[in-house]
């Protein structure tokens, strides 16, 4: 089982002819992802790793009935490309680029809501349904099938943790990178809900960090709606507090956002918080063993 994507998901790559686009097209293909087409204006008719390239996302979707897209487009042009994908009918949109302006991200999310599409990212490594399909840039070898669902705000830290799991012989159902920006499409709650519904997911790892209130919101949701065991790791314990401009941030966060507040909220929700990445696999083993 898998959430969001599986081996039947038909994927297009926007910006397929670029350095990263072409490299990761190869990586995704070798993972088994069903990449059906690429898009690169001015390069229609070419092929990358055997994948046909089209002028526009419309053309690619029209000719190959795609339902997901991954974007390798420079940040200043990402909003336009995201609109294009959504308008062409894409329902799962993975935004790899960093540094997309926040207002552009808000515009994208508003449009995706109109189109009933799921946006992953921006500034994400993507998502992977282990063993069947990956739409993202994560290293292939760590993502092997197993009973654990993982959702993470950060990328490399997530690989680190999934890597530890792999070393312990524990695989994953689906791993979702929410993305590191202030405005991202999926929140912990969205993914937790999917994991709760997914029969293959037995336990869940939540990888968070300081700042914002996503972890506290997740904790409240876990209390009310998640029956499966959840283990968390949070980065940023040692970080010095930043200087704040104005009061709006504090008003929005209402005392949330610190390492302590997050740990406390998660503990109250029955979530075990590991103090080192290496401590995650033992906690997961306990959870899987029903301890």
């Amino acid at each position: 089982m898998s959430i969001y994507i599986d081996e039947n998901t038909r994927v297009i790559v926007q910006g397929i002819t670029g350095r990263q686009g072409s490299f990761h097209t190869g990586q995704m293909l070798s993972y088994g992802t069903n990449i059906v087409a690429g898009v690169s204006p001015g390069k229609g008719g070419q092929a990358v790793e055997g994948v046909p390239v089209f002028e526009t996302a419309f053309e690619a979707v029209e000719k190959h009935a795609a339902d997901a897209s991954i974007l390798f487009i420079p940040a200043p042009f990402a909003r336009d490309a995201a609109y294009e994908a959504l308008e062409a009918g894409i329902k799962i949109l993975v935004l790899i680029p960093e540094s997309i302006p926040l207002h552009d991200a808000m515009d994208i999310m508003a449009h995706a809501r109109q189109k009933d599409a799921v946006v992953v990212g921006p500034n994400t490594f993507g998502l992977v349904s282990s063993g069947s399909s990956k739409i993202g840039i994560m290293p292939n070898r760590y993502f092997v099938p197993g009973p654990v669902g993982v959702v993470s705000r950060s990328g490399t830290l997530c690989y680190e943790i999934v890597g530890h799991l792999t070393e312990h012989g524990i695989g994953t159902t689906t791993v979702v990178g929410m993305g590191g920006d202030r405005v991202v499409g999926l929140h912990f709650i969205d993914v937790l809900k999917k994991f709760e519904e997914d029969p293959a997911t037995e336990t869940i790892i939540l990888v968070g960090e300081i700042g914002g209130s996503a972890e506290e919101e997740a904790a409240a949701y876990i209390t009310s709606s998640i029956s499966k065991p959840v283990v968390a790791y949070l980065a940023g314990k040692s970080a010095p507090p930043g200087k704040r401009m104005g009061h709006a941030g504090a008003i929005i966060e209402r005392g949330r956002g610190t390492f302590e507040s997050k740990v406390e909220a998660l503990n109250e929700a029955g979530v075990k918080v590991a103090d080192l990445p290496t401590k995650v696999p033992p906690l997961i083993k306990d959870a899987l063993a029903g301890k």
């Binding site: 540094s99 302006p101 490594f125 840039i137 490399t156 830290l157 940023g236 103090d275 990445p277």
Partner: protein
């Protein structure tokens, strides 16, 4: 990018949002003329901190002497660890009521959010939830009249004050959207006999959108080293310890620092050289770190979009060209790991597969040296 109050107010004025008449000075001597020009005045330190008021960074004067004395006092003040470079002298406006009004981004809602309260002023964070109105704005239609009427209804505002807000909020929203602001806060928004006046301005512009605002000033709170890092497009923060840390990705960099501290070490910095950096950027990152003269260098690479062979090559290049003669703890796994290791092994450099081991080794090295 945070803007000083006086710059925020310049932008307000550009969007036709009323602000007090004012004069910007760089030394206390310049304060004397202000009273003649503006009458009774308020004297305000221009620091990028939300704690200015409580720290005594605001004074009042009704004579030139008093103005000079107050300005001198404020120039000498350290606020939230910051020094005062400039002081803004403003006409004292007749405040009947202090409101709070802000636009910021609510990540949970994916939307801009209006924060508004009739209880503006210094202790606004403590205003009870029901007296602080939040309204997320739909960006596809923008700041419509109905949004403002509903905010007013929830605040219990009617009549002239509502009319004033119906004029003001669309201007603030226009500025917020057009200038890619993360924050546009007015606290207090002063109700005066002449209508609403922005008595303060806290404006933050999204760094990632600065490229489309060439007309905005560039303000930095960074140290010289951090500025140099910024030029290289690196996320770098000085921390003061002796173990220089270089990793790829904000989350894992944070986790590395946490782990250094966990094992009793002191990180010298936060340096995330990002995902997928090329040879040059990686070398420059290394050189920057070496320039800070740390006792130990800890490199923690988990390659996804970042390729291990590129990092290894950069390391060798820097070693050969500039020399690396401090103890190094090097962790290298992920994309093209085998190639990376091979490159390093040729130079006699060993790597760890485990982050935990690499960090413990680095802490060990720092305590030995």
């Amino acid at each position: 990018m945070k803007l000083y109050e006086h710059l925020g107010k310049e932008l307000f004025a550009r969007y036709d949002i009323p602000v007090p008449r004012s004069k910007l000075i760089e030394s206390a001597d310049q304060a004397t003329g202000a009273v003649d020009e503006l009458g009774e005045v308020v004297i305000k330190s221009q620091v990028l901190s939300g704690k200015r008021g409580k720290a005594g960074g605001i004074g009042f004067a009704s004579s030139p002497d008093e103005a000079k004395k107050e300005a001198a006092r404020i120039f000498d003040l350290e606020i939230d660890g910051l020094t005062t470079e400039k002081v803004l002298i403003e006409e004292k406006i007749k405040i009947e009521q202090e409101l709070y009004l802000a636009l910021t981004i609510d990540g949970s809602a994916h939307r801009p959010v209006v924060l508004a309260s009739l209880d503006g002023g210094m202790d606004v964070e403590d205003v009870p939830e029901e007296r602080m109105i939040r309204y997320p704005v739909d960006v596809t239609i923008g700041m419509q009249g109905y949004v403002i009427r509903e905010i007013c209804r929830r605040m219990g505002v009617t009549g002239d004050l509502r009319k004033e807000l119906l004029k003001l909020l669309p201007k603030l929203y226009k500025m917020f959207r057009e200038l890619d602001a993360e924050l546009a806060e007015i606290n207090p928004l002063a109700l005066t006999p002449d209508g609403l006046i922005a008595a303060d301005a806290k404006v933050t512009i999204d760094d990632d959108a600065l490229y489309r605002h060439p007309d905005l000033p560039r303000i930095s709170e960074k140290t010289a080293l951090e500025l140099k890092a910024e030029e290289l497009d690196l996320a770098y923060v000085e921390l003061g310890g002796d173990i220089a840390v270089m990793a790829n990705g904000a989350g894992i960099t944070m986790a590395t620092l946490d782990m250094v501290q966990h094992y009793g070490g002191e990180p010298a910095n936060f340096l995330d050289f990002g995902g997928g950096a090329d040879l040059e950027k990686t070398s420059k990152s290394l050189e920057l770190l070496l320039g800070t003269d740390p006792k130990v260098l800890l490199i923690n690479i988990f390659g996804g979009i970042t390729r291990c062979d590129v990092v290894a090559e950069a390391f060798v290049q820097v070693k050969q060209n500039k020399g690396i003669d401090l103890p190094v703890s090097f962790r290298l796994v992920g994309t093209n790991e085998a190639e990376g290791k091979q490159i390093l092994e040729k130079e006699g450099i060993k790597t760890f597969a485990s982050m935990d081991e690499a960090v413990r080794h680095a802490v060990q090295l720092s305590s030995e040296s």
